[in-house]
Structure formats: structure tokens, C-alpha cells
Symmetry: C2
Subunit: 168 residues, 2 copies
Amino acid sequence: MTEQFALESVDVSLQPMERFEEYLQSKGKRVTQPRRVLVEHVFSKHEHFDADALIDELSTQVKGPQRVSRPTVYRTLNELVEAGLLRKMEIGGRAVYEHDYGYPDHDHLYCTQCQNLIEFQSTELVELRNRVAREQNFRASSHRFIINGICEECQKKSRRKKRRLDLI
Amino acid sequence: MTEQFALESVDVSLQPMERFEEYLQSKGKRVTQPRRVLVEHVFSKHEHFDADALIDELSTQVKGPQRVSRPTVYRTLNELVEAGLLRKMEIGGRAVYEHDYGYPDHDHLYCTQCQNLIEFQSTELVELRNRVAREQNFRASSHRFIINGICEECQKKSRRKKRRLDLI
DNA sequence: TACAAGATGTGATTGAGTCTCAATAGTGAT
DNA sequence: ATCACTATTGAGACTCAATCACATCTTGTA
């Protein structure tokens, strides 16, 4: 699952793992080898990913000290979400994760054809959200806005395909 | 799962089942007893529901001709979404359905405490969506906007609880 | 009314995610 | 550096939603 790097990243004083260590300490949890491996792996590239991909990369394919078991992958992902390092969203009934720490708030366009996620930012959306919440006396803590459709690439592809068919 | 009836319903010329029959015919599918039972049941009350509730009501608890098996519940729900009679959304990793036919487009506030869905409409949101899509040369077909937080009721409840605790 | 194709139900199966529990490994104190 | 305490891990069993396969039953049609 690739994506467009449309957004600037945000300056942060701590590396993700350092940030995670702070979180772990504040919760009386331990800094372990599997947690380190997973965090380094996840933050080594900026992509949307699902638990399954991680399990493949860290559990199925790997042997030795770099290996992380399936339950631990799930457990650690939850902790990372809890710690604010990752954001979790449900797309097509499947959990997808992305970097949250060191990355600005944003929403997504989801191409139902190639399944790519395109990011965008809109301050207007946040204002709209706050206004709606206020009107309903609702205390908003977060939101999820996903626009479904067909991305530019896939539109071009299907136009090309259509043209080829017209020639037959 | 209850909800607030904040929105007016839209006038439609056909009953849901009639509308579904049209769809079935257009696809060369058949109007069967289980499909009729399920549609009548689903449109007899205006609520958000999940497949599990339906299976309980139509498969687990019922015997005789009104019974609809689990696979058929799932199959028919998909057809109803396909036919535009129901809308499907994923909340907390679980599929939730609501009436689409005869009901205006809207979005939701989701209370993470009582898990109620509150509906609201915003033309502004639709404009925003179209604008974002246009900027990215994206052909938008639908969207999902969910604001997570705590509803008015639950805020009151936790204030009461907090006050009681203060007295101890 | 009979027949071919579509639909249904039973029971098995998949797949994501979680749980249990014995073994292991951080952590803070000595 | 070592110890004791306790959180964490991994293997494998398990749960739950959803789907599949297929023998049997229904529907629309000739």
C-alpha cells in the first residue's frame, strides 16, 4: 500500500522509539526487544500498512532475535495507538495503520480501484467538525473522514482500456 | 442500538420491497420468501443495526417459514446495499447498517461511551468534499464522516457520577 | 405443469484478532 | 554484577464475523 507524500512532516524533538519509551515508563511498562524491533521497523518507512503485513515481515519471514510473534505484533500496535505514535483506521473491514507522531493531522481519499490512500489537510473540515459538535452539545475527540472514489491514475487507466476496446 | 430521529424522511414512490423487486428483476434475480421476510423486517423499524442482531431475530429465535439462515442474511444484506436500500458502515471493526432508501444523506456523531449514533446533515460538508476531490482530480463517489466523542447524555451521566464521588 | 437456473440451508471453513499459560527477560534494589 | 519480582513473550488454542461448498429446494417461464 503506497501513498503520496503530499504533507510536510512536523518537527519533533524525540525519535519515535524515544517517545515510545517515555510512554512505556509513564505506564510502568518495559522497554523490550520485540517492542524496539517493531517500532524501528514501523517507523523506518512512511507508509500505510496493516497488521498482516507486519506479521509477514516480522513473524512469518524472520527467525532469530529480530522475530516478533503474532500476538505481540497486535499487542504492540495497540500500545502504539494508545501512545499516540500510530493512528488506526478501518477500511473495507480491515484495520490500517499510519504514522501519527511527527505527522500532521489529515484525512484521506480512498481509491476503491487501486486501494491507495491519498492524504489531504483541511482546516475548514476541523472547523466544520467543531461547529457540528457544538450544535449537538457533543464533546468531539476525533473524527474520520474518508472520501471514496477513483484516483486520477486509475481514471487514466480505465480511459486507456476503454479506448483500446473501442478499436477492436 | 437506538438513535435520534433528527432528520425528515424523503418521499418515495415505491415501498422498499417494491424497490428491491425492481432491482432483483433488473439483475435477473428472484423474489423469494427469505428476501421478502428480511426486507420487511429491516424496514419495519428505523434503526441502526448489525448483521448479528438480524441473525438473532430471523435465524436463531425463529422457526418456520419466517426463518432466514445466516448465510442468506449476509447475502441479502449485501444485495440491499448494492441495490441502494441500505448503507453499510464500519464502526469499531463491526459492520453497521442503516436505511438509505427514503432517507436523506447524512453523517454521524458516534458516542464512544454509549455507542449511539447521532445523525446530522451538512451541505457544507458535501461542498468541501467536492472541492477537495476536484483539487486532486479524484472522482468522488461517496464519503464517510464520523465524529467520535461523548454525547450530551453521557457527559451528564459522568458529571453526576463525578459529583457523587466528590461527596465521599 | 414441468423444467432449468437461481436461491437456500447445513455444516464446514476462513481469517483477523485475542486469550491462556508456561517460559523468559527487563527493572530496581542490593 | 546479581537477585527477586513481575511484566512480557510465544506457541497454540480459541472466538467471532463472515464466507464457502454443495445437496436440496423454489421460482419464473415455456
